[in-house]
Symmetry: C2
Subunit: 349 residues, 2 copies
Amino acid sequence: MSGNETARPGHLRIATEEAWATREMLDLYRRALAQNTIDDPGFKSLWGFYLGSKSPRATFIIDRLQEMGEPRIHDMDRTGIDKQILMLTSPGVQVFDAGTAVSLAAASNDELAEHVRKYPTRYVGMAAVAPQNPKEAAKELERGVRKLGMKGAVINSHTMGEYLDDPKFWDIFAAAEALDVPIYIHPNSPPREMIQPFLKRGLDGAIYGFGVDTGMHLLAIMTSGAFDRFPKLQIVVGHCGEALPFWLFRLDYMHRATVNSKRYEFMKPTKKTLFDYMRENVYITNSGVAWAPAIQFCQQVVGMDRVMYAMDYPYQFQAEEVGEMERVDLSASDQKKFYQTNAEKVFGL
Amino acid sequence: MSGNETARPGHLRIATEEAWATREMLDLYRRALAQNTIDDPGFKSLWGFYLGSKSPRATFIIDRLQEMGEPRIHDMDRTGIDKQILMLTSPGVQVFDAGTAVSLAAASNDELAEHVRKYPTRYVGMAAVAPQNPKEAAKELERGVRKLGMKGAVINSHTMGEYLDDPKFWDIFAAAEALDVPIYIHPNSPPREMIQPFLKRGLDGAIYGFGVDTGMHLLAIMTSGAFDRFPKLQIVVGHCGEALPFWLFRLDYMHRATVNSKRYEFMKPTKKTLFDYMRENVYITNSGVAWAPAIQFCQQVVGMDRVMYAMDYPYQFQAEEVGEMERVDLSASDQKKFYQTNAEKVFGL
């Protein structure tokens, strides 16, 4: 962290993509790395670094991911963050066998609910679920929302190379729609079948591979017809929409061209355009992108009501980045949408 | 094509990423598909479609790629295009063995030079080169520029999974810098080691896979230190910079974080920031993105002097798209930069 920020604006600041980890999960990650039991090059690259590096970046992040008491609250206070929307850090439980993943998700949700009970005005929980078992994932989402007060689910992009465009996962979408809660698709490293060219160049992580994988994931959901089947479903993505807003004209043009030319037998027409889905079924946060030009582009393209603030604590704990959208020419009511009310609406706070 | 456009603006319209193909190359593609001799799933998906589909899109494109006479000029006239910057269509010669690729590149350049001689005020040629043999590619670029009047080289992203960030290709950069001509990195389908998740979903082509691969390519060049070694080198990329301008804040932040934490031993500090390289070594065209919001974002981020017009004929032959930036609030001199003078400058017309 650097800089200092104490002046309080006329709105709350809700940070919508904030990470935490259980000790149990990090221990399982450590053991998997030591015993080489998770055969996923992206996992090994990411967590081999964070759990193996002595760099200030890695050691700070490992410390703070597990810190759910006063030091985290203090970090929030000194950067002017009122609430954190908390998610089990990527890839969460999605690298384990289904049995382990299901029980680990439930245990982490119980633990997160405890933290939220301790700081009910500062923390909001998102349920971890195990897509490896879609029916159990849907049940755990329901339990998280109904019993634990959680406000949605987090899915860390692909699960062992599978994506939510596959209808086998759609029990999760059905549950989210029925419960009226969003699904946050958080990045993951690209899967084995995609990662090598990125990995060789050090581009597999947050610098680029994350965005490619998560952008493809959201695009695949849009072209799969999932939003026709679940028209009220809301997906949240970070990093200014993983660049899909910027690509939107081309995505939409080429989607129509591809469908019309029947290039892929399995690619069927969708009821609405990709512009429609982006504006009706997707919320965007600016995690990792504390940069007014990209944020304002998103506001212009998907609307002022669908773009919101995130810090990406502790991965991008930068005090001077917090106020980025308070320093630009934006009305007080639009600032409030960005920092507060859009999040209150989509997460039902 | 649809719509109609006849009013002439106060500038030339130079379309900077326009495709053509030799009959010989398409015949080699046909034969390779029939005999399954090119083991590249992206090539098979792309050219299996264009050469196999009876759709109006595919048949029109195959026809027009090979048409270098009056029908092409007529298409330009009726959409108000003054000049086309012509490139051998993707993946060009880059899927063949080195010997075939070298001779095919030379033959296609000779043929293109003939077409340019026939329509010297309407056509500008970019040299095809075979990165499979970097020394020959550098020589062919020099021959293309010095003997045939060409204005740079086109590289269709990866060559059998290899990218220009590898110093083994840097004879090509050295030649381009010495000749003061740009290299246009045109998209290609992702390579075998990346494509499967895209291919399964019909997202491997222009809709998304092209942009991912080409964006990674440019990012890899930037982080490789190539622009420190060749500080005057100019790379042109289409599709509004393959989204790198939109990602630029995150790329730059995570590049610094990654280098500082020494996550990858091979990722060394660069002399300048990624913002600097994007603004000093990269030109952007709007091929495939006839959409003022994205174009203006690029102009804002990389500068009015580095963004220019492209149609992507015949792949995106849309008359109503041509005037997109003549309909927005942009001064006549900035319009002229976009449609004419930036291209004149970088291609040395």
